[in-house]
């Protein structure tokens, strides 16, 4: 093959760029292989959508009235609203608690701690990400839940009758395994990803902006407000959304601590359920029929939800890094 190429008078040796010459089979084969591997990402994403949609037709054919109800009893009622509520509420709690902590750490590691001492701090935060989801769940159900149970009971009796707070945290049926416990665990679990993405974005703030703020007599906090924050806010919003997406899809830890009952209630100390958790816990019992189809349909629902959240998140992150490069 290569002998033929060399003899080709159309591309005299020495003058042509190597890529313009007729290329050996192995070279083209490698390119096709690499392209196929890249396309695999798109193929998997499309296949996930198609196959889960096919398998959940029995659920979708039940119509909107079936899907848009709260109850999910595994028998005749397969509503998505109850579990969707639990997913969103626990993730929102996770984000509300996790974001100030994550952004605080990101600022600490980029603006306060000198760069050469930051590494050990980063390792510690990364340790959080290395502890598997199921281990957080194990710790949650055996250690955290019984301990929180007592605290919840105290808080609930203290807040009884207080408007708003009483609705959120009061009530007689408080349990250790609840929306709020799931939110706490999620907050811990999404902190490393929000911290590391925020750090990357904040690190792109040009030194000249920061020095300019200091030169005007700003304190460090005023410099962060005036120079760092305006520059990195879009990227940090993206980082928070990535964390929110992780929280929505987190399965095992939530399944162990959210309480395993499908309910829509404003009481955050009550037990609930989430989309991912109900799939994990009930798939084994769902032998055929509408039950299994409903669980797969909920999986599709979760997939679309997290894809949308991540699309928006990545758009924010990419836009802010493009801006940082001055494009």
């Amino acid at each position: 093959m290569s002998a033929v190429t060399k003899a080709d008078p159309a591309t005299p040796a020495g003058s042509a760029h190597p890529l313009n010459r007729r290329r050996p089979l192995g070279d083209r084969g490698f390119q096709i292989l690499a392209l196929a591997a890249g396309l695999l990402v798109l193929v998997i994403l499309v296949l996930i959508t198609v196959t889960t949609a096919q398998q959940s037709t029995a659920w979708f054919s039940g119509g909107f009235k079936d899907i848009f109800q709260v109850a999910f009893d595994g028998n005749t009622r397969f509503g998505a609203m109850g579990v969707l509520y639990g997913t969103v509420i626990s993730s929102v709690i996770g984000v509300i608690i996790g974001v100030p902590v994550s952004v605080g750490i990101a600022l600490l590691l980029t603006q306060v701690v000198p760069a050469r001492w930051a590494r050990p701090f980063v390792y510690v935060i990364d340790l959080l990400a290395v502890v598997p989801s199921v281990v957080w769940g194990l710790w949650g159900i055996i250690v955290l839940v019984p301990w929180l149970q007592k605290i919840y009971v105290d808080i609930a009796s203290g807040l009884k009758g207080v408007p708003v707070l009483g609705t959120l945290f009061g009530g007689p049926n408080v349990t250790g395994a609840s929306f709020f416990t799931a939110g706490l665990i999620l907050a811990i679990m999404i902190t490393p990803i929000i911290t590391s993405l925020s750090r990357e974005v904040i690190a792109t703030v040009p030194d000249i902006d920061k020095e300019g703020a200091y030169a005007l007599g700003a304190t460090r906090w005023e410099m962060i407000r005036g120079a760092v924050w305006p520059h990195s806010q879009g990227g940090v919003v993206g980082a928070i959304l990535v964390g929110f997406g992780r929280a929505l899809g987190e399965t095992i830890a939530v399944a162990l601590v959210i309480g395993d009952s499908v309910e829509v209630t404003p009481h955050l100390f009550y037990s609930g359920h989430s989309i991912a958790a109900i799939i994990a816990l009930q798939f084994g019992e769902a032998t055929g029929g509408e039950f299994r189809s409903a669980l797969i349909g909920l999986g599709l629902f979760l997939f679309v939800l997290t894809i949308v959240v991540n699309l928006v998140a990545r758009w924010f992150v990419e836009r802010s890094t493009r801006r940082a490069r001055g494009e």
Partner: protein, 300 residues
């Protein structure tokens, strides 16, 4: 961005020390940032101490190697988690064999062939979106396309984990390939090498340690995943030496089922399995760190 700066410009420039309130505000915010770090240390320290204390009680040579996982009611000391240790190593190992070469090839396409074309940009963007797809969805996907036709097996679990690892490996390898200086590629072209040869013998070796450490982090993440295995591997109590057929088990699956049990023996086994699993992921992460550290020293 100029709002805060132009406000201070409107007034006469004051070069004295910041006023008391501005200084205290700065100090309060600094304390709050440190506080955020301390808040994170509390659950991390708590979980690690509990894990080591309870896990060390359970772990013994028999616990790690005995191939029969006892029923939940039995106390600690009978049987062991050998089946789950073997399962985790097999399933994660095979997933690595699938995901790492494909992921690296995908990254090669993005960086060496795709350029700034629309397809490469789409794949790059969708691979970072795909890192956010919940692991349980990957499990359902493999259940539908594989398990429904060919039954439960360790390999089905490997497929699900590989789907999870693929975008992570692509992203981390891509970042590493971008760091390889163009002069290396041009030098090799000047010697008449084909693009495939340049990529395989010059570009990939130059980025190798970065790619390996990124891949190890992906492996560490996959090894701890439970959700994708529930519908693909099922759970058995005996070692299944055949990765390619029949239900299998893995450490995360055992932790999950034993954590839900009301029996103390089962809970103790869950802690033992958890410590074993975390030890495996920590070792992978430390190896990745060492490789990264060597790599950064070399490039300097």
């Amino acid at each position: 961005m100029m709002a805060a700066v132009s406000d201070s410009l409107a007034q006469p420039v004051d070069l004295r020390e910041p006023s008391g309130w501005r200084r205290s505000k700065n100090q309060i915010m600094t304390v709050l940032m440190w506080l955020a770090f301390v808040i994170v240390l509390i659950p991390l320290g708590f979980v690690l101490v509990t894990l080591i204390a309870k896990g060390a009680d359970a772990i013994s040579w028999q616990f790690l190697t005995n191939s029969t996982i006892p029923p939940n009611v039995l106390p600690l000391g009978t049987g062991g988690m050998g089946a789950a240790v073997v399962g985790t190593l097999e399933i994660t190992g095979f997933a690595t064999l699938l995901a790492v070469p494909l992921g690296v090839l995908g990254a090669v396409y993005l960086n060496e062939y795709g350029g700034n074309g629309i397809l490469a940009r789409l794949i790059s963007f969708m691979s970072s979106v795909m890192t956010g797809v919940p692991s349980i969805v990957m499990g359902l996907f493999i259940y539908i396309i594989w398990v429904l036709h060919f039954g439960y097996s360790g390999m089905a679990g490997s497929f699900a984990l590989a789907c999870l690892m693929l975008p992570i490996v692509i992203r981390s390898s891509y970042e590493m390939l971008r760091l390889v200086p163009d002069s290396l590629r041009q030098g090799s072209y000047a010697l008449g090498a084909t693009k495939a040869r340049v990529t395989l013998t010059v570009v990939l070796p130059a980025a190798l340690s970065g790619i390996v450490s990124g891949a190890l982090l992906a492996v560490a993440r996959a090894a701890g995943e439970t959700a994708p295995l529930i519908f693909t591997v099922l759970t058995v109590e005996q070692t299944n030496p055949n990765l390619f057929s029949g239900p299998d088990t893995a450490l995360p699956l055992q932790i999950f089922s034993n954590a839900q049990s009301a029996y103390t023996g089962a809970n103790a086994r869950a802690w033992g399995a958890a410590l074993t699993l975390v030890a495996i992921t920590f070792i992978l992460m430390i190896v990745a760190r060492i490789i990264t550290a060597l790599f950064t020293r070399n490039t300097r």
